[in-house]
Symmetry: C2
Subunit: 455 residues, 2 copies
């Protein structure tokens, strides 16, 4: 793979050289995926300059791979006629994505520059919601009619695939009214006898999705069954487009990001996931506040628990210094358990029917580690503070705390799942706060009961 830093430096140097021929050659020889990574590291001026050296084909490939803000930045700077020619070389779903990020008047201006057939297809794509099958599908599909012979179908595809630059994963079979009737792999087509009718070899049990289906369902279906593409139909069963595996992969990466964000209490319900890192600062703040507030309320409970044992605290203030130790290790081991369960539920390695097995297993793990750490802390505290009783109290609190944390960390995701709440939601903050409250209660209770021996 590409050494990104070296490659970026080289492109920077070449751009400075002003040797048109060299610049053109170097830039157009790079794979669009590499070029997109390099563009990430260039300055805004360098990006525009470099883009102008690309052939229309390379420019189209690159534009597809760039993040939305760069697409807008570049399209606003370059000549509109050229931009329209570049757009014409992109798959329609990518064009819809690009235009969707421009202002309405800019979008209109571009659409008016495109051939009527293309612009009407793109207008249709723009009419679907962004996160539905319709919003992510590509409307350019090669279809054959069911009463064609294999020979006719093959020669038809030959012509179509040569003129339009279309991804050819499967061949979809439709009737006269474009209703989806069947599907064929290219392999089946080329290995079948030439005279056979398409309808006699096509598969009619087709996995398909509806234009309005949520993009996550589409991606999950594609990934689960290992398809390269899945057809999208409207409510009348007419074929409207296909969603391909690379779109599904992008969506599943987004989903993973949302899951990871959620687990540390960053909410993607109101704010779009890619707005949080790069959008307006107040969007990022809004995404982070809800769970911080909930933590705040939870921690007020912890403060209250501690306050409840005010007398104990006044009698023997030294006990306060062990609070972070107990809360820290409880939070840590609890987070480990919750992470294992949440990820397991998400990949399918863990499911509701094995819940009790996992809870019991984590209980034993928590007990083992809890007792181990309890003993270490007890011995340390005993020696340090020269008090067997204090050592025992802190050690016992540690053991109970860690075991409790493991169990709560394991049980919580299953309960959330049962309540039909996404188990990933704020697992981190919730477990830390719960452990703070319960752990403190256990610790202070133990101290209070042994107060007689501690004074």
């Amino acid at each position: 793979m590409l050494n990104l830093e070296n490659a970026t430096q080289r492109i920077r140097d070449i751009l400075k050289s002003d040797d048109d021929k060299l610049i053109r050659e170097e830039l157009n020889n790079l794979h669009s995926a590499d070029l997109a990574e390099i563009f990430d590291h260039l300055s805004s001026e360098e990006r525009i300059k470099a883009f102008n050296y690309l052939t229309e084909e390379c420019a189209a490939d690159l534009l597809e791979e760039l993040p939305a803000q760069f697409q807008v930045e570049i399209l606003e700077e370059i000549n509109e006629e050229k931009a329209a020619r570049i757009i014409l070389r992109m798959p329609h779903d990518s064009v819809a994505d690009v235009l969707g990020d421009l202002t309405d008047s800019e979008t209109e201006a571009y659409l008016n520059k495109l051939p009527a057939r293309v612009s009407s297809q793109i207008r249709e794509l723009l009419s679907y919601k962004e996160d539905t099958a319709g919003g992510i599908m590509n409307s350019e599909v090669i279809t054959v009619e069911k009463d064609m012979t294999v020979e006719e179908a093959l020669s038809y595809i030959r012509i179509k695939a040569e003129t339009d630059k279309i991804d050819l994963y499967y061949v979809y079979v439709v009737d006269k009214f474009n209703h989806l009737c069947g599907v064929l792999s290219l392999r089946e087509l080329i290995t079948s006898p030439q005279y056979i009718k398409i309808e006699d070899i096509m598969i009619t049990d087709i996995f398909k999705v509806n234009v309005d289906d949520d993009q996550e369902i589409v991606a999950d279906t594609l990934m689960k069954y290992g398809f390269l593409a899945i057809p999208v139909v409207d409510h009348y069963g007419k074929l409207k487009g296909i969603v391909t595996w690379d779109d599904a992969q992008e969506i599943s990466e987004e989903e993973t990001t949302e899951e990871i964000y959620a687990s540390s209490g960053i909410s993607t319900d109101i704010i779009d996931e890619d707005e949080i890192l790069s959008g307006h600062m107040f969007n990022a703040i809004r995404a982070r506040l809800p769970w911080l507030f909930i933590t705040l309320i939870g921690e007020f409970f912890a403060v209250n628990v501690a306050h409840h044992f005010d007398t104990t605290l006044h009698a023997i203030p030294i006990i306060a210094i062990f609070m972070p130790l107990l809360a820290g290790l409880g939070g840590n081991i609890g987070t480990q358990s919750i992470t294992l369960m949440v990820r397991g539920l998400s990949t399918g390695q863990v499911n509701m029917s094995t819940a009790f097995h996992h809870i019991f297993r984590e209980l034993r793990i928590g007990l083992f580690i809890g007792i181990l750490f309890g003993l270490m802390v007890a011995v340390f505290t005993w020696n340090w503070q020269n008090s067997v009783v204090l050592g025992s109290v802190v050690g016992l609190a540690m053991a109970i705390n860690m075991t409790l944390a493991t169990v709560i960390g394991t049980v919580t995701p299953f309960i959330l799942k049962k309540l039909k709440i996404d188990p990933a939601v704020a697992s981190g903050p919730v477990i830390a706060t719960t452990i703070d409250v319960l752990g403190l209660a256990v610790y202070f209770t133990l101290v209070t009961y042994s107060l007689h021996y501690l004074l």
Copy 2:
């Protein structure tokens, strides 16, 4: 998609019915991906029973999708002759995976039952390390020779693709000695004139990997460039196999799991990631102990900081009850920042060249939220404890704490990355412990300086 619970219940009921015809029909009509999910929920006896009703083809498809422990369980229970016939229908890479999980003598027994050509290919696959390109590739590839014409190549592929059941993504071009010379998409092949020589239309700039390359590099290359498959060559440039996009997807899911585990302090360095949830309990404990020990040491520092302010604590024990509040919210907002940066670095949305931009942005976010929460906590404490000074001290500590946590959470991943350490490593525990130590130091210092007004 399938309603898993209903489908599982239905299969359970049918299995109980002992209506052979019905069972056979229902089971063989399910897609192998669905069946694999259902098998996950069946008991061990139900699994064996159901498996015996499957046709050899369905059994092969299913076996490929099952987790290793089920594969072993089933193969040990069913008739060996039948097992060998099922294995023969699976892609070679899947067979190598299945046999790799059996004991050496069992593996030998199966290999001896397979045709010599197949068993020698599988022996070769078994000789590569599990996590290299050689260990994950499929050795069944359709190749054409470079001096064939398009017509010859097509008719050759027709015969090959029909007899062997091979995934046909690209057609690889080799010379007489099987050296990889070029690649062609099936689309190019069917749209080119029949009489043209393959070497005149093949692409010679081929992305390829070496048999010894790490599987993560292979997966990343495939994903980045959006290939359906990538060829694997040996040190002489001979074509040994291909790695396909579905393998890459599986590897990238494993990588994500490792990343998520690492971020909450579960180490996958010694213990394999899929051993942690389902393997021996002591493996799970070993994976979790290292970062718990590090947290323990870190928290001893926190205890020491608190102990350092012993006199303050004795003078005014009430201050101890705010410790969990400060640590909890600091840890929470710090984890948010570290999560955003670690995930951003992993997806490429964040990179080293934009480090200062992100640090500065998070600083402002931390300041804003810190001041907001500081004010809330100050007002609350003032009213509750009836002390303006205590309210101000706790509020100020909160504001400093949260800002500090955001900055540390943002800076840490960049420093780790610069030191060539994976930024995902134990981000959660590290940030929580650091905040415990620093946060307490800030808080107790503030309290000590205002002691005069607090008493």
